[in-house]
C-alpha cells in the first residue's frame, strides 16, 4: 500500500488495520501527531487527509491509501507549494500558522498544539479571515470532537489564529 505523506510517496509495511497514528509515528518516524485518547475525542493526533482534518488514532492506514497526508512536519512545504516559493525561500519559511504560534507564545505544555495547528491550517485554507465565532466553532464543533487543551491555552490559540490570518492575508511574511 502506498500513501503520500508530506508530498512524498511512502510504501507502508504495517497491516492495513493499523491506525494511521502508529504508522506515522513508528514506521515513518513522523512524531508530530500524538496519542491522546485513541477515541477521536481530543484532537491531538490530527492530520490533514486530502486537506481535511481527521483523527489518525481511529483511521486505519488502509483508508489513507492513495491519499495525501499532511502532518506538522509538512506544513512549511505545503505553504511553499501554495505560494510557489523558490526553494531558497521555502527553506527558511515556516507556515504562517507556525510563525503565529511562536509569535504569540501559544503553547503551554504544548502537547495538544500539533493538532491545534492542523485544525488552524484547515480552517484558514477555507476561510482566510475567520471571525471569532468561526474560530471557536472550528475548534469545538467542526470535527469529530472538540480539540481539547488541558492547559487552557484556548485564548492564546485564538490570538495565534488571528495573527496567522493576518500573515496569510499579507502574503505570509512575519
Amino acid at each position: 500500500m502506498t500513501i503520500t505523506v508530506n508530498g512524498k510517496k511512502r510504501e507502508i509495511q504495517s497491516p492495513g488495520d493499523t491506525p494511521l497514528l502508529y504508522v506515522l509515528r513508528n514506521e515513518l518516524d513522523l512524531a508530530s501527531p500524538q496519542f491522546g485518547c485513541g477515541l477521536a475525542q481530543c484532537g491531538i493526533c490530527s492530520v490533514l487527509l486530502d486537506g481535511k482534518e481527521i483523527r489518525s488514532c481511529i483511521t486505519p492506514v488502509s483508508s489513507a491509501s492513495g491519499k495525501e497526508v499532511t502532518t506538522v512536519e509538512g506544513l512549511p512545504a505545503r505553504w511553499a507549494n501554495q505560494k510557489k516559493l523558490s526553494a531558497e525561500e521555502a527553506a527558511k519559511t515556516l507556515h504562517p500558522v507556525q510563525q503565529a504560534w511562536i509569535e504569540e507564545q501559544t503553547p503551554l505544555c504544548g502537547f495538544c498544539q500539533s493538532g491545534m495547528m492542523i485544525k488552524a491550517t484547515e480552517l484558514l485554507e477555507k476561510h482566510p479571515n475567520p471571525t471569532l465565532t468561526e474560530i471557536k466553532a472550528a475548534f469545538t464543533t467542526s470535527g469529530p470532537s472538540p480539540h481539547l487543551c488541558r492547559c487552557g491555552s484556548y485564548f492564546a490559540i485564538v490570538e495565534a489564529v488571528q495573527l496567522a490570518s493576518t500573515l496569510i492575508t499579507k502574503g505570509g511574511a512575519a
Binding site: D17, L108, R150, G152
Partner: protein
C-alpha cells in the same frame, strides 16, 4: 584556592584551548538516616554543575527542575540568573533540565520561582563574586568593591575584562556548599549567604523574553518523551486489575495465532503485555485482558454516597487536627452573641490531573543491573530514589532522563507519574527496553486524583453587619500518595501508604493552606482534619482511591468554602462583596488587588443578589462574583460575570478578570499566558470536573465522562499584572490561577439566582436541582 563567601574557587590546571569556570557543589551534610542507602550519589568531582561560564562568553545553566508548560526554566530562570550574574539574557545559550545524571539539585517542580529557583539564583550570586575575585587577581586590585560588572564585562581602575577572558585557557572550579537529600521531595539546598542584587538594579527581569523551546514544539523538532525510541524496544500495554481492590486469579494467555510476537508478563498482581509492534501490543493486551480473571471487590462508597461516607463513616480522629496559627479570639461566645448567622457545608469532588496524553515511560534495565528511565516527570531525583527502593539497588545505578510531555499539574511532584515503575518491572523481566503507554481509560482509572473534601463553615455577623466570628473546619483525605502503583501491584518495596504516623509526605494529617487574609475578623477558628484515602485500608491490595496533590493542592479545597462563605456573608450583611472583603482585611496588598479588580472588571458596586435575580425561567439571568487568594507570596483577585439559564441549568462565564500582585513580575508575557491558561482550567474545574466512581473503582474513563472546558466556552478574559518590585519576591502563575474561578462563579451564581452554590462542579443537572430547592 580562594574562598568566596564560603565557596571554594580552585584552578585545576591550564588548557590549550577553551577554558571554563564550572560551578558545582560540595555536600556539607546529608539528612539521610544512619544505615539508610546513601541517597546523595552524585559525585561532586564529576562535571555536574549548576553553571558553566565558557571562554566564548556563553553560559550554560542546569536545574533539576523540569518544564511543565510554564516556560519558567527557559524564560524566568534564565532572566533571574542573567541578572544575578550581570550578563545579557542571550549569553545563557543552554539550559539543561531534569536529567538525574546531568543536573544537580533535584527537588520537585513546584513553587518554581520561590523555592524552585532559589538554588540557581544563589549559585549565580556566588559565581558573580568568583568572577569579581578572578578580575581582582588579574587587575591586581585589593578590594573587589573597586570593580563593577555590566553585561558580563568587569571594569575597574581603567581596565576591562570579559567573563570569557577571565576563564580562557583555564580549568576553574567553584565549589559551593549545599545541604539536603538529593532524592527527597525538596532536593538539595544551596547554603551560605553570598551578596544578592537588589531588585532595583534588575535589567533583564521584567522583560517579556520568548520561550526558547516553543519553536521546536511548533515545528515538530521537540524530543517529546513519546518520541524516544531505543534499539530492540518493546511496546507494552498494562492489564490493570478489574477493581481498585482486586487480586489476580489467573492471567490470560496470548492467542499466538493472532499475536505471534506478543508476550505476557505477570508479577504479583501486575500484568503487562509486550510486543515489538505497538498495534500488536494494544490488540494482544485487549485479548489478554478479556481472558484474565480477577477477584471481585466492593469497598468504596460510590460517588453518590461520598459526602455521607466522609461525614459519617470516615475516621477523622486518628490523625492530629491542625488548628490554624491564625486562629484567634473567642469564637464560641461571639458566635452565640451574633445578630445574624450563616451556617453551611461546602463540598469539593475528586478531580483528575487529566494530562491530555496518558502517562508513558520507557525503561531499560541492563544486564549489569543499571536502569535508565525516559519519562516526563516533575521530580526525577525522587523517582530515581523510588525505583532504587523498588529494586533494592543503590540510587547511583538508576538514571532518569526527562523530556517534554503532556502537563500533569502535580501528579509526579513526589516522583512517580504512573508508568515508570511498570516499564522498569517489564524491562527487567523481558531483558529488553520496554515502553509502557497507558491508554486513556487507564489514565483516568489507575492514576491518582486530587482529593475530595468538605468544609463546615459558621459565620456570625454583628449588628453592623461585620463578621464577629468565623469558624471553619476543613475535612480532606490524605492528598499525597507517592507509592508507584506498579510496585504496589507487583508486591515490590515502596514507601509506606499514607498513615497517621507518616511523615509530611505520606501523612493522613491535613494542613491549613496559605495564610488567612481577613485579619479584620477578630474571632477566628480554622481547623484542618485528615483521614486515610477512601478505600485504602479496605482494599486487599492497599489501593483504593489514591490521591495526589494537584495544581494549588489543598488550597483549592480550602479556598472554595472560605471564599464562597464570605460572599454569602456579604449578602447576609447587605454589603457589596468586594467592599465587604476590603472591610475585613488589614493587608494593604489584599486591598490593592481588590480595588484594582473593582476598577478593571466592570464591577457594579452593590450587594448580591442582583435586584433582578431569578431561579426560574428560560431567560438568562446574570450575576457577578469575586474571590481572592494569597498563595506562595502572590496575591490574586478574580471577578467572574456569568449568565445562568434556569430552565436548562446552563452556566456561561461571560467575562473573567484576574488581578495579580506577584511582587516582581519576572516575565510579563509568560506570566500573562500562565494566568490565562490557569484561569481557563479553573473555569473547567468549576463547571465540569468530577471523578465518577462506584463501589469498585473509578468509572470515569474518557473525555465524555470527564468533560473539560472547550474553546467555544471561553469567556472574555482580562489579566492585570501589578509589578511590585519593592516586595522583593518573584511571582508566578503555575499555581493559584486555577483556584480563583470556582468561588467567584459560585458568588456570581448567588448574585444571578439568589441561590447558594456550595458543591462543585456546577453541571447542568446539579444546577437545575439547586434552583428547584
Amino acid at each position: 584556592m580562594t574562598t568566596v563567601y564560603g565557596a571554594e574557587l580552585t584552578r585545576r590546571g591550564f588548557l590549550k584551548t577553551g577554558g571554563a569556570l564550572v560551578v558545582g557543589f560540595g555536600l556539607v551534610k546529608t539528612e539521610a538516616a544512619d544505615g539508610a542507602i546513601p541517597r546523595n550519589s552524585l559525585n561532586a568531582s564529576l562535571p555536574e554543575s549548576f553553571i558553566e561560564i565558557h571562554a566564548d562568553n556563553t553560559i550554560l545553566i542546569r536545574t533539576g527542575k523540569c518544564d511543565f508548560g510554564q516556560s519558567s526554566l527557559y524564560t524566568a530562570y534564565q532572566q533571574i540568573v542573567a541578572d544575578e550574574l550581570d550578563v545579557p539574557f542571550e549569553a545563557i545559550t543552554t539550559v539543561v533540565a531534569g536529567d538525574t545524571d546531568r543536573t544537580p539539585d533535584g527537588g520537585g517542580t513546584f513553587d518554581l520561582l520561590g523555592r524552585g529557583v532559589a538554588n540557581l539564583r544563589k549559585v549565580a550570586a556566588y559565581t558573580r563574586q568568583a568572577m569579581l575575585e578572578l578580575a581582582a587577581q588579574r587587575f591586581q586590585v585589593v578590594a573587589k568593591d573597586q570593580l563593577s560588572v555590566e553585561a558580563g564585562v568587569v571594569s575597574g581602575g581603567g581596565k576591562r575584562v570579559t567573563y570569557g577572558e577571565l576563564v580562557k585557557d583555564q580549568n576553574l572550579k567553584l565549589t559551593i556548599p549545599v545541604t539536603g537529600d538529593l532524592t527527597s521531595m525538596f532536593g538539595l539546598v544551596v547554603s551560605g549567604e553570598p551578596p544578592m542584587k537588589p531588585a532595583s538594579s534588575y535589567s533583564v527581569i521584567g522583560k517579556s523574553f520568548k520561550n526558547s523551546i516553543i519553536p521546536a514544539k511548533v515545528t515538530a523538532q521537540e524530543p517529546w518523551v513519546t518520541n524516544v525510541k531505543l534499539p530492540g524496544m518493546l511496546h507494552a500495554r498494562m492489564v490493570h486489575p478489574a477493581t481498585l481492590g482486586s487480586k489476580l486469579v489467573s492471567a490470560g494467555q496470548v492467542d499466538k495465532k493472532r499475536f505471534p510476537n506478543a508476550q505476557v508478563v505477570v508479577k504479583g498482581n501486575l500484568v503487562g503485555v509486550a510486543a515489538p509492534s505497538e498495534w500488536e501490543a494494544i490488540q494482544a493486551a485487549q485479548q489478554v485482558a478479556a481472558a484474565t480473571k480477577w477477584s471481585a471487590w466492593k469497598g468504596l462508597p460510590g460517588e453518590a454516597n461520598l459526602f455521607r461516607y466522609l461525614r459519617q463513616d470516615a475516621d477523622w480522629k486518628s490523625a492530629k487536627v491542625n488548628r490554624s496559627s491564625k486562629s484567634t479570639g473567642d469564637v464560641a461566645s461571639t458566635m452565640a452573641a451574633a445578630a445574624k448567622r450563616h451556617s453551611a457545608t461546602y463540598q469539593m469532588p475528586y478531580m483528575k490531573h487529566a494530562p491530555i496524553g496518558p502517562t508513558m515511560a520507557l525503561a531499560d534495565v541492563r544486564p549489569d543491573g543499571t536502569v535508565m528511565i525516559h519519562t516526563h516527570n516533575q521530580n526525577p531525583q525522587a523517582l530515581r530514589g523510588q525505583i532504587a527502593e523498588m529494586l533494592g539497588i543503590s540510587t547511583d545505578q538508576v538514571v532518569v532522563r526527562t523530556y517534554s510531555g503532556a502537563g500533569h499539574y502535580g501528579r509526579s511532584n513526589g516522583g512517580n507519574a504512573g508508568a515508570e515503575d511498570e516499564a522498569v518491572i517489564l524491562s527487567k523481566e523481558l531483558g529488553r527496553p520496554v515502553r509502557v503507554q497507558w491508554m486513556r481509560p487507564e489514565d483516568f482509572q489507575w492514576s491518582t486524583q486530587s482529593s475530595a473534601g468538605y468544609a463546615d463553615v459558621k459565620i456570625g455577623l454583628d449588628a453592623k453587619g461585620r463578621i464577629a466570628a468565623y469558624e471553619i473546619d476543613h475535612y480532606m483525605p490524605a492528598m499525597q500518595d507517592d507509592r508507584p502503583i506498579g510496585a504496589v501491584l507487583a508486591g515490590l518495596p515502596t514507601m509506606a501508604a499514607p498513615s497517621e504516623e507518616g511523615s509530611r509526605l505520606n501523612s493522613t494529617v491535613n494542613g491549613n493552606s496559605d495564610a488567612w487574609i481577613y485579619e479584620g475578623v477578630l474571632n477566628l477558628e480554622e481547623r484542618a482534619h485528615g483521614t486515610w484515602q477512601v478505600g485504602q485500608r479496605e482494599s486487599p491490595i492497599a489501593v483504593g482511591l489514591r490521591d495526589h496533590s494537584m495544581r494549588t493542592p489543598g488550597q483549592f479545597q480550602q479556598n472554595f468554602p472560605r471564599e464562597v462563605a464570605i460572599s454569602e456573608a456579604a449578602a447576609l450583611a447587605g454589603s457589596d462583596p468586594i467592599q465587604f472583603r476590603i472591610d475585613h482585611t488589614k493587608d494593604e496588598r489584599v486591598k490593592n488587588v481588590l480595588e484594582g479588580l473593582r476598577e478593571e472588571s466592570g464591577w457594579e458596586t452593590r450587594p448580591a443578589p442582583h435586584p433582578k435575580a431569578a431561579s426560574t425561567g428560560a431567560a438568562a439571568v446574570r450575576g457577578q462574583g469575586v474571590s481572592v487568594m494569597f498563595r506562595a507570596g502572590s496575591y490574586w483577585a478574580c471577578a467572574c460575570q456569568i449568565a445562568v439559564t434556569p430552565a436548562t441549568g446552563a452556566i456561561a462565564v461571560e467575562k473573567i478578570t484576574m488581578v495579580v500582585d506577584p511582587g516582581i513580575v519576572v516575565n510579563p508575557l509568560q506570566l500573562k499566558r500562565q494566568v490565562e491558561g490557569g484561569s481557563m482550567m479553573g473555569i473547567s474545574q468549576a463547571l465540569y470536573e468530577e471523578v465518577a466512581f462506584d463501589e469498585s473503582g473509578v468509572t470515569t474513563q474518557d473525555w465524555l465522562t470527564y468533560p473539560i472546558l472547550k474553546m467555544a466556552e471561553i469567556p472574555e478574559i482580562k489579566v492585570v499584572l501589578l509589578h511590585r518590585p519593592e516586595v522583593g519576591t518573584y511571582g508566578q502563575g503555575s499555581e493559584a490561577a486555577n483556584a480563583l474561578a470556582a468561588p467567584a462563579i459560585a458568588g456570581a451564581f448567588l448574585d444571578a439566582t439568589g441561590k447558594a452554590a456550595r458543591r462543585l462542579p456546577l453541571r447542568r443537572a446539579y444546577v437545575k436541582e439547586l434552583l428547584k430547592a
